[in-house]
């Protein structure tokens, strides 16, 4: 599957622009403020209904306008037209696949898998646990609708349960205790499924991480990902342990009116030769690991979904040393269709543009194919 073209209307800086893409590498070149990154952002919208980093849809609408529209044409076994429209006034978003509206995000996510490597990925290896959970959740969600549904179910349960805990801080009746038990049972049901799926995922994904790491580093170092869940518990009887911990923390939960146990507290630990990356990694090791994770995600999704994800790389070459950048550029030749933003193609002598690749220059709203 490839993305053959997009049309943007009032999307960030782009008032009305149409781009055609090559099936292989697309270098999108332009100075600051020419809207390179928003091209990638619009592609991410087409695949997931949302932006990777914008907090709201309305901030994406071009200044002074009421709505944006993204139109994309996917060509694979079938030809599909996707339209994403957001109306700022009515605060409504529409996702149309071949003019038919899809209403649930789980109907969309995974249909056109996408992987994006951006400078904001520093949060995945260096940020808080929530950023790593977000990474893992987004990978599994694209591979499995059931996981995504279960995740939404779990998050909804957390909200309901903490609301009930808040009410019980003031007053606890028997009836409320019965209700609390039901929400706890629901939490255990959905939470256990999440944890078990994450265990299985990390197990499989680790192989992809090793493979990508060797390709980019070419060294005999061993990267690994550890999964920290239920206070560091390592046993396959997840449900029993989850239940036990909840019992132990019950009074704490009432006192603090908060959900204290469950997969929303999980973390993932990246190591190189058993040394913790977050604590001891150099800046270069972090950058490399972030790229490794995204390549691993790409090949994992490709195998699991039997579809070739779109690969988006936002301004990544400027931050890597020449040797790493060179390897990544070679590696990119194997991924299928990719979109790479650069400030200036000439600065990167190691980048190779094959005959079928596109070099798209953005300048003052004009698009030139070089």
């Amino acid at each position: 599957m490839i993305l053959a073209s997009i049309k943007l209307k009032n999307f960030r800086i782009h008032e009305n622009v149409e781009l055609k893409f090559a099936g292989n590498l697309n270098y999108i070149v332009g100075g600051n403020g020419q809207g390179k990154t928003s091209i990638l952002e619009s592609i991410y919208y087409l695949c997931t209904t949302k932006s990777l980093d914008a907090k709201t849809d309305s901030e994406v609408v071009r200044f002074g306008k009421e709505k944006f529209e993204i139109r994309g044409e996917f060509i694979g076994l079938t030809e599909d037209e996707v339209r994403v429209i957001y109306d700022k006034i009515e605060m409504k978003k529409f996702y149309l696949l071949n003019e038919k509206q899809l209403r649930k995000s789980s109907d969309v996510i995974g249909r056109f898998p996408v992987v994006m490597l951006t400078p904001a990925d520093h949060a995945v290896t260096q940020g808080l646990p929530g950023q790593r959970r977000k990474f893992v959740d987004s990978v599994i969600s694209q591979a499995s609708n059931i996981y995504l549904e279960n995740l939404l179910d779990y998050n909804r349960t957390l909200k309901q349960r903490s609301s009930l805990l808040g009410k019980m801080r003031e007053y606890r009746s028997t009836e409320m205790m019965n209700e609390f038990d039901a929400w706890t049972e629901k939490l255990i049901e959905t939470g256990t499924e999440l944890i078990e799926r994450r265990i299985k995922f990390i197990d499989e994904f680790s192989l992809y991480v090793s493979e990508s790491y060797y390709r980019i580093m070419n060294k005999k170092e061993q990267p690994s990902i550890g999964y920290f869940y239920l206070n560091g518990f390592k046993n396959l009887k997840v449900k029993e342990h989850f239940t036990k911990l909840l019992k132990e923390k019950k009074e704490d939960e009432f006192r603090r009116a908060a959900n204290l146990v469950g997969p929303h507290k999980d973390d993932f630990i990246f190591t190189i030769n058993d040394v913790n990356l977050k604590t001891y990694g150099s800046q270069g090791q972090h950058k490399t690991f972030q790229a490794v994770l995204r390549f691993a995600e790409f090949f994992y999704l490709k195998d699991i979904t039997s579809k070739t994800p779109l690969f988006l790389l936002d301004d990544v070459f400027g931050e890597l040393d020449a040797a790493r950048a060179h390897k990544i550029s070679d590696y990119l030749k194997e991924v299928g269709q990719a979109f790479v933003t650069l400030t200036d193609f000439g600065n990167f002598s190691f980048l190779k543009k094959d005959r079928d690749d596109y070099l798209i220059k953005l300048n003052g709203g004009k698009v030139v194919y070089a």
Binding site: T157, Q160, S163, E179, D181, E185
Partner: protein, 198 residues
């Protein structure tokens, strides 16, 4: 643009209905304006009677013209099975499948601390009373398979189990997060047949 007051009010009121936007409301208002007086009267009467003639069945809380609803009145229903649903619209959805011949109990919602819906605001006590008075042997929990519906099922199952009745919940064949009301008849029918013991 200036719109005549009565028209503006009608559009405003119509647009408060579910899935009616401003444009549709305007089209409906202008259409009603052109309708014969008789037809307008009939429309008004039917809307009015919805409110005056329909009430809740005193036994199962289903919509009813009389003290008891059509299902509760019928002699052909299996009075040993109760199917618990959220809203009266779910009764309509299940009746259409012709796969169920027992009685219903309409809860009037599901548990949701966030919106302040507690066991007390639902017809749960009424359900428990029915177990004392009627000769019920099986309870089917047919709440929507979303977060709140499933938790309400867990809550009810805990209350009902000690009473020595068979408790089942409808199979997960329904689209997840999809309302019973919107699922097609064949799907609901299958879900009713393949129910699971809790």
């Amino acid at each position: 643009m200036q719109i005549a007051e009565p028209l503006a009010v009608a559009i405003e009121e119509l647009s408060k209905l579910p899935s009616i936007g401003k444009k549709t409301a305007q089209r409906l208002a202008l259409f009603i304006l052109k309708m014969d007086d008789d037809r307008v009267d009939n429309l008004l009467k039917s809307i009015k009677e919805l409110k005056t003639k329909l009430k809740s069945c005193s036994r199962c809380n289903n919509l009813s013209e009389d003290e008891l609803c059509e299902v509760c009145k019928s002699t052909k229903r299996d009075k040993s099975i109760i199917c618990v649903v959220e809203e009266a619209s779910d009764v309509i959805a299940i009746e259409k499948t012709h796969e169920f011949s027992g009685l219903y109990h309409v809860l009037g919602g599901v548990l949701s601390p966030l919106t302040g819906i507690t066991p007390d605001s639902l017809k749960i006590k009424e359900l428990l009373k029915r177990f004392e008075k009627e000769n019920i042997k099986e309870v089917i929990l047919a709440l929507n398979p979303d977060t709140e519906g499933e938790t309400t099922s867990l809550y009810l199952a805990k209350l009902i189990k000690p009473l020595n009745m068979k408790v089942t919940r409808i199979a997960r064949g329904l689209p997840v997060g999809g309302d019973l009301e919107f699922a097609d008849e064949a799907t609901i029918g299958r879900a009713m047949i393949n129910r699971l013991s809790i």
